[in-house]
Symmetry: C2
Subunit: 484 residues, 2 copies
């Protein structure tokens, strides 16, 4: 394609870039992938004006995801963006690219970006940066902002204080609605949200909240103190961020006030931050349940070395804990030698046990994290899992008996699979399923009670315990029924 | 405690009920549990006025959760609530209690509740009700509402249309800001949100969106068409509800417009609905990955029979598919008889293989559901997992060799564990981990490509495949290195 053709094509692409990308929201990622090639071509040809026209219409999150695929060319691309959009994109970038950019910024450029950022985003960025970059950021922030940043940085990781912002609309109870709206109009542009305002007294104690809807529907001369909601939910700076996110989700709030121990309003948490927290915590739960150490990077950005570090410790521990099953098997070596066919069903038994246990533990862990069950429900849960496991166990045992008789004995023509052997296997199956479900449901609840993470207690750990139990049951039935 | 003491205690409880319950958001559930006993006692003594005072200050979601523990007494309690609160509580109740209430409502009562509900909530309720209840609801809805309900009910389950509401603020491009604010004040009370307004032309085509902040910050005589956002993202009625929820989350929107195939605005989806969808879909993913059929009820409300139905099919299938491992073991019966110690390490090998595979598949499934990877990344993913698996495999093999020599051979004094046997086990370990990681990462991506659910392809299925592969590798190495 010659230059003229290329320019014509680019003109066309630029014309409808927004529509093309966002026409079908189910395929935005594919559309962005296609765009990436165009971005690369334009960058190579140094057609910066076209590149800018191409990027400008896109949503900040998507510009950031394009940039994240460009690595060392991010700074060139970033400088094409107008100030405000640049800041929005900056927030959405991966932290290594943020660092790369900050390292390349002049002090003036850095200040310009910082001025456009919301406070909570600034803090999020700082938390990922090395010390020298943090110093530069703090040096460029204006004194008031620096104070707020330092304030928020003090809160422990995963606390509500660490995700809140201090940029909220605060009103006084004696204001009229007209005053309040004026104040929102004046200070609104710098606030994280204007959908909810917070009413404080002279000591900064939170005494009410007021939604924008109530404010708009009121008369101009109504008094804020009369129309504000006096029964309102607030969270504390040291509450777990997950609790706060769940509160926002459960009650359907758009923002929650955060108070200190003296009930003074110090910040707010908005629904978009809550959604990020929930996504992050869910990913962590998935990782822990699959025996990985949690990582906060997207899959493709995690290096081989990082993945190895996250995965090996638990694999190692679980491998070593399988020593027990080995010991049990060695102990019953003679029984296995006397009746070799028993070996053939060990993987099936341990697999079924593992699956049964995982079903119970997953259901419980999810219910715990959604606050549906508590420690006091333990007996109720055990009783229920006991009944479910008996139903499941019997059903599996019957199916397995039929299968062993038809497939293993008749079809595969294996005379070693006697009805008695099948009975041993099926009885073990029932016992294993019952044990697996009881262990699977009890362990996460007990773990939470003593302050461990229930997700960590999940499948892998339970599988190891159930493996050992199922072998013990197996050999117990074998010695009993087969006389070996 | 005599009646007088009881009354005094109740007075005290009522005094501070809101503060007591919501003082510490980390322990709301415990506080509600304590309240439940008081509610039951008051109900028994028929002290309805006190009961009402006790309930009124609470959040609707919490009143509903109290009610859900009261079963057949729900109707009595429900009638204590004032109209508006009653409707809010009604929405939050479990569907069997909603049905119980509707069955007991007079037509007038039903109409009163329906009038207070938002449209999307009404539709959610209807979707769970049996046909005769649906008929009654539709009969009591006013004609316009009935039309809207029927419209939404037409959309397939899990589509965006099925979760949207048609109660949004619509503006015209030629309105002034003053007109727009007047319109919002007038129609706002019945709308799901006033935070975002939607601008349509005369054919109901969506041509812009306008946030309340922009509206408040504009001058009274500015024209809506000039200040509205013309580049905006919309979703289609038939888009998957999960896509829509992810879009809201990714871009941090408070509401998204939903258009039909001709780009006519038909509804909106708000962020609280998106959070519900995400929670629901996440729970489904957890369930599927643990080999359960998804259920939409909370754990404690799922009956034994339902739990059995959700859990048995996959357990059965996975149990039967373990037939393969059984066949492999039977096939190598002679090798096992010749070198019985090999049996002792089978559970460890299959456990480690299963865990390795689950690690990879979980990371991939989560990345797929967050839209971080796509089919085109398959080779990249395979290459990365290959490198990670070599590192993990070697690390585990070394640890295992040392352990087998020190613990099994020396400590347990088992002469059968020769260095050669250890070598066989360790070589198998490396091979198994590599296979497990490759199968674990590839299977979910391939499943999504051909239109299956990647979560269903997760751990249990992969474990079965990996079990079989690891045994084949084991016996291959055993025959090669031990000459059996």
């Amino acid at each position: 394609m010659d230059d003229k053709q290329f320019d014509e094509m680019i003109e066309e692409v630029i014309e409808d870039v927004y529509e093309d990308v966002y026409e079908d929201m189910e395929n935005v990622e594919e559309a962005l992938d296609e765009l990436l090639d165009t971005v690369k071509a334009l960058l190579e040809r140094k057609q910066y004006a076209d590149l800018r026209d191409l990027l400008l219409p896109l949503e900040a999150a998507d510009i950031a995801s394009l940039f994240d695929d460009m690595d060392e060319r991010v700074p060139v691309l970033f400088r094409l963006l107008p100030k405000e959009l640049a800041a929005e994109v900056f927030v959405e970038l991966e932290s290594d690219h943020q660092e790369l950019l900050i390292q390349g910024f002049s002090n003036a450029e850095l200040k310009e970006v910082l001025d456009e950022l919301y406070l909570d985003d600034t803090v999020d960025i700082i938390e990922e940066m090395p010390a020298n970059v943090v110093h530069r950021i703090l040096a460029q922030a204006d004194p008031e902002m620096r104070k707020s940043i330092n304030e928020i940085l003090k809160y422990p990781e995963d606390s509500t204080g660490s995700i809140m912002t201090t940029e909220f609309v605060d009103l006084k109870a004696n204001m009229t609605v007209e005053d309040a709206l004026k104040r929102i109009r004046r200070t609104g542009p710098d606030k994280e949200t204007i959908n909810i305002s917070f009413v404080t007294d002279e000591h900064r104690h939170l005494i009410g909240v007021l939604g924008i809807r109530a404010l708009l529907l009121a008369e101009d001369d109504d008094i804020v103190g009369d129309i504000m909601e006096q029964n309102f939910i607030s969270v504390q700076t040291l509450d777990d961020q997950e609790t706060t996110a769940q509160v926002l989700s459960k009650y359907g709030f758009l923002a929650l006030p955060v108070v200190d121990t003296e009930n003074r309003l110090v910040g707010i948490v908005t629904v978009d931050d809550a959604m990020d927290v929930i996504e992050e915590e869910t990913t962590e739960d998935f990782e822990k349940m699959a025996a990985m150490l949690p990582s906060d990077k997207p899959y493709l950005r995690t290096g081989v070395w990082e993945a190895w570090k996250a995965r090996t410790p638990w694999l190692l521990m679980l491998m070593l804990s399988a020593t027990f099953t080995g010991i049990i098997l060695t102990h019953f070596e003679n029984a296995l030698a006397a009746c070799g066919i028993l070996t053939a069903f060990i993987p099936m038994l341990s697999g079924t046990g593992g699956n049964s246990g995982t079903q119970a533990s997953t259901a419980i862990i999810r219910a715990l994290s959604l606050d549906e069950i508590r420690f006091s429900d333990l007996l109720k849960v055990l009783w229920k899992e006991f009944r479910v496991s008996i139903c499941c166990g019997i059903c599996l045992a019957v199916a397995n008996f039929i299968k062993m008789m038809l497939v293993d004995r008749m079809l595969m023509n294996n005379p070693a699979v006697t009805p008695m052997v099948a009975l041993v296997v099926c009885a073990t199956l029932v016992g294993t399923v019952i044990c697996a479900k009881l262990v699977g449901c009890a362990l996460p609840i007990l773990a939470e009670k003593v302050g461990f993470d229930p997700a960590v207690m999940a499948s892998p750990f339970i599988t190891t315990i159930v493996d050992a139990l199922s072998l013990l049951i197996y050999f117990r039935f074998a010695t009993m029924l087969l006389g070996i």
